[in-house]
Subunit: 152 residues, 3 copies
């Protein structure tokens, strides 16, 4: 676990990109709320303020444009935190570097494709395919780490 | 933090099982959605496709059978990620192995019991008991690590 | 990564406090549900039991007092798990201790201020300010770790 180690570096690059992605999703939600001036969630968000100079009083109504970003954020939250842990435990098993790169960078690419498919409202099947690749990567690493820990 | 170390191995075994559990919860939601052909969340999921050969147009209505699995997933998300971090920080304090095994495997067992109690709709009290055991394990480890870090 | 190392200690102190905070948010939700005897989420929670000696049958209705705590918990879940990972990767780059303390303890203070602003229903702007500080800390560390990993 130091930055001179290529396996650890592969993990850090993947983890940093994913964390920027998921934090960015929160900002996409903020951008969308401010753009449509709707989809807020707290009663006090209906009040006049810098974020809301001309309140209409019903800005806490659900807005599909905003909700889509929230669902994407929620889906990230069901995948990325677990990847961040199991990815680290996986590289600590010292796998060949190219395998680690395929699995970790593959997960990053699958999630970025999932992002594009979700935000452009592609079919359920397209979105599910990228979700499945990511989910399989996490579960595969978990099974491998479990096997590795039980074996030793 | 290497797989030859029994404390670290205890952590990896717990973490891997929990990550498989929470990822599996996502797949239970998928299974339930496809079984009842309902409880989808995106407008485009109403469209015809491989996952949805005979769309009825109202498949994004909320479905309690599906929602239960989502609530279980959400409850996992409020517990497991924090365990995954504090469990690692806890074993790095080098506690006696048997204590680490009781706390870490105890958490895993409590969450698996919570899963069974939740999916079979046991009483609030039964479900809350297993939730409480898990929550206390996390908070206990957090207090211990905080104490340990402040002491040194 | 050992407790004799001031950088690691800074991380452990921040992480432990944040984990206690987010677990505590779950208990605030429980407290609020039991106080107003409402805002439960499962059909079986309407049944008579130790937690619910006098069921009224409609205790799964949404309750704003309870929902506020759930939204706070959800906001924590969109920030704290990512901090817990990137904070560790950041201190492994061996930054000067005072910088690590500003960023990590700064994040903790920003989230505690966010908690106070949220639970007392301060304006959207006040809450958003503390959210933004925390979000910037996470994204700044992610960019720094990415740069550091790519550079080496």
């Amino acid at each position: 676990m130091n930055y001179q180690e290529p396996l650890f570096n592969t993990y850090v690059i993947s983890a940093s990109i994913l964390i920027l992605k998921v934090m960015g999703q929160g900002w996409i939600t903020v951008y969308r709320m401010l753009k449509v001036k709707s989809g807020f969630r707290n009663p006090e968000d209906n009040n006049k303020g810098l974020c809301n100079p001309h309140p209409s009083g019903d800005q806490t109504l659900t807005n599909e444009y905003v909700e889509r970003s929230r669902r994407m954020h929620s889906n990230d939250g069901e995948n990325i935190p677990y990847f961040l842990v199991i990815g680290l435990l996986f590289i600590l098993t010292s796998p060949p570097l190219w395998i680690a790169q395929i699995v970790l960078y593959g997960f990053v690419v699958a999630r970025l494709c999932h992002f594009v498919a979700y935000i452009t409202a592609q079919s359920h099947e397209v979105r599910a395919t990228f979700f499945t690749i990511g989910s399989m990567a996490i579960m595969g690493m978990a099974l491998y780490c479990l096997y590795f820990a039980l074996l030793l």
